[in-house]
Every structure is written in C-alpha cells, then in structure tokens.
C-alpha cells in the first residue's frame, strides 16, 4: 500500500504529465530503450545536482535580486553541463561520442530548469521543504518522474507510430493525445 501511495504521489507531481515540461525530449527519448535510459539518467543527474545548487543560490541571493534567479540557475546548469561533459570524456573514452548527445539534449531542457523553479516555488510556499535534503530529494523525484512518463510512452510508442494510425496523426500528434489521456487519469488521482 505504501508503494502504491508513493507511486501515486510521484505521478501527481510528475513534471511531464502535470506540467508538460520536457515533453519534446521525452518523445526523442522514447524512440528506443537505449536513448530512454541515457536521457533519463542524464536528466535525473541535472535535476538532482541542479536542485542542490538551487538551494545554495536561493539561500545566498537576496529577495530584491530575485529577477537574477534565472541567470544564476542558467550559470549553474552551464557549469554542470561542462563538468559532466569533461567527466564523461575522461571516463568513457571512445564511447564519449555516443554519450555526449544525451548530455547536449538534457542540459538546457525545460524539464531541468522547470524542476529548479518548481522546487524553489514549493519551498517558498512551505518552509518545511526549504532544506538541502528536500531540494535534492525533489530533484531526484523529478528525474524518476521523467523515467516513469518515458516508460508509459514507450509502452505505446510502436502502436502510436504504426501504419494503423492515420498518416496525419501518426507519431507526435498521437503521442500528445495519448499523454493527454494518461495525464487525465493521473489528474483524477490527485
């Protein structure tokens, strides 16, 4: 029962199904299992590490300079982007060429930046969430939410792209309608 409750909670705050963040990246990721795993892992890294950094930025930035928040978040994601690229270059060697595409697609993504703003917004509304651990956990949950949404889409990906679907609706339009129906189901669970 605990697991079901946690799953419903994860779905109810899902950044794709509830906020439509990172939808186009999800469509690219759902294309094949390898892309899905690669993109989901990199996005989870960015949302988790980015949220940890967002906690530091929010704590250090005075309220009157709140318009600069986006700039600092962008710089943070930029630094993480370069760090991850450098790290992967030294770790993965020849595989770097394959891996870097996931990093390029994931870094400046609505899912990542949207998570940082959502987590910060939730912390501003509820003081209990304004802790380093809450930020990191919320960032990780956003990444897990992306994986769940990607798995849901992958399950129907082939059928939505099959010749049985009318040509005009095949692919992206059908996937949008499908995500809408899943989103409606999740909405009813809230």
């Amino acid at each position: 029962m605990y697991l079901i409750n946690e799953l419903i909670a994860l779905l109810a705050v899902n950044l794709i199904l509830m906020q439509a963040l990172g939808t186009s990246t999800l469509f690219i990721a759902a294309d094949n299992r390898r892309n899905l795993v690669g993109t989901a892992l990199v996005i989870t890294f960015f949302t988790t590490a980015g949220s940890a950094a967002a906690y530091g930025i929010n704590s250090a930035l005075p309220e009157k300079y709140s318009d600069l928040t986006l700039l600092f978040y962008t710089l943070t994601v930029g630094i993480l982007y370069l760090l991850l690229l450098t790290l992967m270059y030294f770790i993965s060697g020849e595989k770097f060429r394959d891996i870097r595409k996931y990093i390029h697609v994931s870094a400046f993504n609505c899912a990542v930046m949207g998570t940082l703003f959502t987590v910060s917004g939730n912390a501003a509304e509820n003081a209990e969430l304004n802790t380093f651990c809450s930020f990191v956990w919320a960032g990780a949950k956003a990444g897990i939410g992306f994986i769940i949404a990607a798995l849901i889409l992958t399950a129907a990906y082939r059928k939505l792209n099959s010749a049985k679907v009318p040509a005009s609706f095949r692919g992206f339009p059908a996937m949008l309608v499908y995500l809408g129906i899943i989103s409606m189901a999740v909405y009813s669970l809230k």
Partner: protein
C-alpha cells in the same frame, strides 16, 4: 521532391509548435486564456528575437558546449528587462504564467535551433526567418488560447459570450495535450493536402 527552404517556413511549412514541437509546454499549460497567451506571446517574441540577434555575434571558434551556455546566458540576461516591462503591461498574467515565463528564456529555438537553423543563414535572411518562426508560435498560441478559453470558460478575453455548454477539462494540462495533439494532426493533414495539390500543379505545368 525536396523544395527550397523559404523564409516563411516558420509560420506554416515548419511551424515552431505544430511541426517541430518546440516550446509546447507554455501552450499546453498556459494557453487556456487570451490574457495569458498575450503575455506569453510578448515574452516569447521579445526574448527570442533579441537573444538570437545578440547570439549571432558570438564567434563560431568557441567550442559548441560553451557557445550553448553563452546563448542561454544571453537569453537569461535579456529576460530581466523583458520581465520588468511585463510587470507593468501584464501584472496579473505574470502571476498566472508562473514558472513558464522564465522557461521561455531557455527555449529550444534559442538554445539549439540557433546553431542548426538560423546561424547557417545570412543575417538579413536569418532575421526574416526568425520573425516568421516567432509569428508561427504566436499564431498557434493565439488560436489555442482563443478556442480553449471559449470552450472551457465560455468567454473571450474574460468577456462572457453566452455559451452554456462548457468543457472545463480543456483548460487543464490534459486538455492542452489533447487539444494540441488534435491541432497537430489537423495541421499535418492540411499541409499534406496543400503539398499534394501543389506538386500536382507542378506536374501539370510541365
């Protein structure tokens, strides 16, 4: 048959939202009232136009990853005056739009399509093409917001129209997903019919 890319592609042939599926989250979540749509159209147009124009001066010698960061930083800086101005023009809408306002500054048209599309063109052509890509987004946002507001709330720009049968779900994100999916399908159907008619006309001309 491959046709030559046109400067007008962003509006119809390769629409920012309906064809490329770029910047769809604000359309899905915030494109449910004309007021929000107008604020988003202003923000998207101003941020994208200025950011891409300024970014076009960034030297190509810089490594790709660093260039991407520079583009994102430029748009984050452009966002500041645009937001300050928006607080005067659209004070209520800014609150409603929430996180989708800053997210416009890191949209894929600025961060990725600059490299893939715009910076391969000469500057004058780039500006023309960019204007039509922006208009493509604005047109979809306007049509989506108009229809969703009318069908979900029975209003046009917050004015009652007298429609009694309402579909409240259309104002929700799931309604946005389904509505945009249907719009995408209809757009593709019209585009394919248009291309077919034109290619038939080309054959008959020869």
């Amino acid at each position: 048959m491959n046709r030559k890319p046109s400067v007008f592609d962003g509006l119809l042939g390769d629409n920012t939202v309906l064809s490329s599926l770029m910047v769809i989250s604000p359309v899905i979540v915030c494109g449910n009232t004309l007021r929000s749509a107008l604020a988003l159209m202003y923000a998207f147009s101003a941020i994208t136009m200025l950011s891409v124009l300024i970014s076009s001066f960034v030297p190509r010698k810089i490594p790709y990853a660093v260039r991407i960061i520079v583009y994102a930083v430029i748009s984050s800086l452009v966002y500041i005056p645009v937001r300050l101005a928006a607080q005067n023009f659209y004070p209520d809408s800014i609150e409603q739009i929430g996180i989708y306002f800053p997210l416009l500054a890191v949209n894929s048209l600025i961060v990725f399509q600059t490299e893939a599309k715009f910076f391969r063109m000469k500057r004058i052509r780039m500006i023309g093409s960019l204007v039509f890509y922006i208009l493509g987004f604005d047109a979809v946002m306007l049509v989506t917001a108009f229809l969703r507001e009318l069908l979900a709330y029975g209003t046009i720009n917050s004015k009652m129209t007298g429609i009694t049968v309402l579909t409240g779900g259309l104002a929700q994100p799931f309604g946005g997903f389904i509505f945009l999916g249907l719009m995408c399908g209809v757009y593709r159907w019209i585009r394919s019919a248009f291309v077919q008619t034109r290619s038939e006309a080309d054959v008959s001309d020869k």
